[in-house]
C-alpha cells in the first residue's frame, strides 16, 4: 500500500511538472490537461504493474466478471471516442449539396428515383385537386399551379446568381484548396505554394490552366512536389468550367507583393 501511495505522489508530481512546464511554454490549457492526463495514465500503468495477483475465479463468478469487463470496455471505448472533438456533419452536408448540384448521375441518368418520387407526388396532388374541384366546382382554379408552387424548379440563389468573385471564393472552400495552399495567412501545410501574390505572377486564364492541368506550371522551389504530381489532376473532371474560371478570377485578385509567392515556371 505504501508503494502505491509513493507511486501516486510521484505521478502527481510529474503531472504537475508537465502542467507547469507546458504553461511556461505557452501551451493552451487543453494541452496542459492532456499532458497531465498522460502522467495519470503512466501512474495507473505503474500501479497495475505491481498490483497483487488476482484470485482464480470459476463458474458464475467468472461469467459475471467477464460480462462486467465487456460492459466496461464498451463504455470506455465509446466514451473515449466521444471525448475527442467531433466533426459536425452539417458543415459537410451543405458543401456536398453544392458540389453535386448539377452534376450528372452516371448510375441513374434518367433520375429514375426522382422521377418516380415526383410522379407519386403529382399523382397525390392530382387526387387532392380532383377532390377539391369536386367540392368547390370546376370554375375555381387551384392555387398550387401558380408559378413558384411546390412543383416549380428551385430558384438559383447565392453565389451562382452572378457574383463571380464570390463564387470563386466559394470554390476555394468547397474544393478545400486551403488544405495545401496558404492564403490570407490561413490554411496550408507547405504542401503547395502560398498564393497571396499569385495575381501579380499569373493572369486569370493561366491560373485556370494550372487548375485544369497541374503539370502546366511548376512553382519555384516545389520541384519534388511537381515531380510527384502532388496537385491532383482531377479538377477538370470535378469542376464546371464556370467554377474554374470563377476560382481563377478570384485568385487573380490577390496581389500582395509582400508575400513571397513562388514564381510559376511554365512547363507546357
Amino acid at each position: 500500500m505504501g508503494k502505491a501511495i509513493i507511486k501516486i505522489i510521484v505521478g502527481l508530481v510529474i503531472g504537475a511538472g508537465l502542467f507547469m512546464g507546458t504553461m511556461a511554454f505557452d501551451f493552451p490549457p487543453v494541452f496542459r490537461w492532456l499532458f497531465f492526463g498522460y502522467a495519470v495514465l503512466g501512474t495507473i500503468v505503474f500501479l497495475i504493474l505491481d498490483a497483487p495477483t488476482m484470485k482464480v475465479m470459476s463458474g458464475g463468478k467468472a461469467l459475471v466478471s467477464l460480462l462486467v469487463f465487456y460492459a466496461v470496455l464498451c463504455t470506455v471505448f465509446i466514451s473515449g471516442a466521444s471525448l475527442w472533438p467531433q466533426y459536425d456533419p452539417e458543415d459537410e452536408k451543405g458543401k456536398i449539396v453544392k458540389l453535386l448540384k448539377g452534376k450528372p448521375n452516371l448510375l441513374d441518368p434518367w433520375k429514375a428515383e426522382e422521377v418516380i418520387a415526383r410522379a407519386k407526388d403529382l399523382d397525390q396532388k392530382a387526387k387532392e385537386l380532383t377532390e377539391r374541384i369536386k367540392a368547390l366546382g370546376a370554375a375555381q382554379a387551384p392555387a398550387g399551379q401558380e408559378a413558384g408552387g411546390a412543383g416549380a424548379p428551385p430558384a438559383t440563389t447565392g453565389a451562382a446568381g452572378g457574383d463571380v468573385l464570390k463564387l470563386g471564393e466559394e470554390q476555394w472552400q468547397l474544393q478545400e484548396c486551403y488544405n495545401c495552399h496558404k492564403l490570407k495567412g490561413e490554411g496550408g501545410k507547405k504542401r503547395g505554394p502560398e498564393l497571396d501574390n499569385i495575381g501579380t505572377l499569373l493572369p486569370q486564364d493561366e491560373i485556370a490552366r494550372k487548375i485544369l492541368d497541374p503539370k502546366a506550371y511548376k512553382a519555384e522551389g516545389f520541384d519534388a512536389e511537381y515531380e510527384k504530381g502532388k496537385m491532383p489532376d482531377k479538377y477538370k473532371d470535378l469542376m464546371e468550367p464556370k467554377d474554374v474560371q470563377a476560382l481563377a478570377a478570384w485568385l487573380s485578385t490577390f496581389k500582395n507583393t509582400s508575400v513571397n509567392t513562388p514564381k510559376p515556371i511554365k512547363m507546357k
Binding site: M57, L73, A81, Y87, D233
Partner: protein
Amino acid sequence: MVLFALLALFGGAAYAQAPGTPSVEFPYTGNRTAVWIVAQLHILFAGFILGAPIFVVISEWLGYRKQDPRYDRLAKEVTKVTVILYSMTALTGGLFIFVLLATYPQFTTWLINHFFMVFAVIYPLLFIGETIVLYLYFYTWDAWKGNKKARHIALGVLLNLIGSITLFVIDGPTSFMNTPVKAEGVSPAEFLATATIWDKMFNYSWMPLNLHRLVGNVTFGGFVAGLIAAYMYMGSTKDEERSYYDWMGFVGNMIGVGALLFLPFMGYLLAYELCDYDASICPYMMADQLSMFFEMQGAMIGLIFLASNYYIWLSMKRIEGVEKVRMTILAPIVMVALPLVMTKVLTDYPAPDPKSLMFLLPMLLAPAVLGRFIPITVSSRTVIKIGFLMVVVGNAIWMTPHGFVPTGAKLVAELELPSDWNFLALMPAKNSAAFTLVFVTVVNYIIYNRAVTQGTIVWGKIDYASQFVLIFLAFSAIWTMGLMGAVRSLLRKYFHTYNLLPDFTAESFTPTLAYSAWYITGITVVFYAVVSFAIIVTLRASHPKEQAHEGEAVPAGAK
C-alpha cells in the same frame, strides 16, 4: 460467399434490366450504416478464417518438427472454431450482397459489371476450392498422422495459398473503389471505358491493401486464438488443462503481437499510396474530417501495446529464476533516446531517404553489437519498467494532436500546439512513437526468451488477470479493425468510387467519431458473441467433465 457469387451472377443481370429500381430505406440506421454493419461483420469473420489458417499450419508444422503435441492440439482447436466461423462468413457474405442490392442497386450492378469475371467466375471458384480444401484439411487431421503428417501440412499450405489468392482477388474491387484506375490527361470515366479487368484490379492501393489485410488478419487471428485460450483457461478445472491453455494464450498473444509489429508499417504503406494517388486524401485523413479517427487509432494501438507488454510482464512472473536475467544497459538507454533521436533524424532526412537508416540502424543495433563489450548490465525487471515508461511516452507523442479541433478549418490559437512544439504533431514524431512501441516490445520478448532459457517456466500458474488481458487484446484489435475499416471506406468522401461516381444520397457525409464508435462497438460485441458461442460449442462441449460409462455391449437383435 457462394450466395454472393450466385447473386453477383444473376442479380447483376436482373438489376441491369431494371435500372430505375428504387432502393429500400433501412429503418433506424439508414442505408449506409446498414451496409456498414453487414460489411464489417463479414470482414471480421472473413479476416479470421483467412488469418487463422496461416498460423494454424505453422503451429502444426512446429508440432511435427518439435514432436510437441501442444502445437498440434492448438492448430486443431483453432481449426475447429475456423470451420464454424467459415459458415458465418458465407452467411454474412450473402447478407452483405442482399443489403447492397436492396440499398444501392445501381451502384452494385455497376461494380459487378466492371468486375464480372471476378464476381461470377474467379471468386466463386476460389471459394469452392477453399471450402473443399478446408473441410479436407479438418477431416483428415486424425487420419493423416505419423508418416502422412507432411501430406496434411502440405494441404494446410494449399489452403493458405487459396485463401490468400481469394483475399487478393476480392481486394481488387474494394481497392478500386478507393483508387480507381486513372491516367494523366484522361478523365477517369474515359480511361475506365478502355481499361482491362487487370488494370482495374492492379490499382494504386491494391497491393498495399493486400499486405495490410494479410498481416492484419494474422494479428487478428493470433489475438482470437488468445481469446479462445482465455475462455478455456477460465473454464478449466484441471491443472493440466490450465497448463495447456496458459501455454496456448501465450502462443496466441505472441503470434498476434509478432504480426502487430509489422502492422503500423503496412498501414503507412497503404496511407502513402493513397496520398500518392491523390494528395488531397492526406489532409482529409490527418488534418480534416478524419483526423480524430486517427487520434482514436493512436489511443487504441497504444493500449494494445501496453496490454501486450503487460501480458509479457505477467508471464515473466511465473518463471522461476527470472531475477537472474540481466541485460546490457545500452538497451534502456536506446529505448529512452529513441523517440527524440528518431524524430530529429526523420525530420532532417525524411523517409525513405537512406541517410535516415545510416543514423538509426547503428543506434538500434548497438545493444546487440556493443552490449557484448560493455560490462554494465541492469535487471530484466528494470528494463521492462523503463520499457513501460517509454510505451507511455510513445503513446503520448502519438496522441498529441496539432490542434484540438475536428477540422483544420476550425483551428484557433487557443486550441493549437505552440509553433515551436508543432513537431510533436508531425509525421517524424508519430513514426518515432510507433517505432518506440515496436522496439520496446521486441526488447521485452528478448528478455522473456532469456528468462525461459535461464529459468523454469511454470505453465498454468499465470496471474488470473492475464486472461482478462488476452480478452482485452482481442476486443481492442477487433475494435481497431472496425475503426480503420470505417476510415478506409470514408476516404472515398462523397463518392461511391472515388472521383468517379458521386454518391447522390443524403448519407454521403462523414459521420462523427462518436456515432462511428457506437456502431463499431455494437459490431464488435455481435462478433464477439458469435465467436464466444463457436468456442463454447466446439471446444467446451467436446470436453466432457467425466468420461461417460459406455455400458455393456448388447448383441444385435436383443430386445
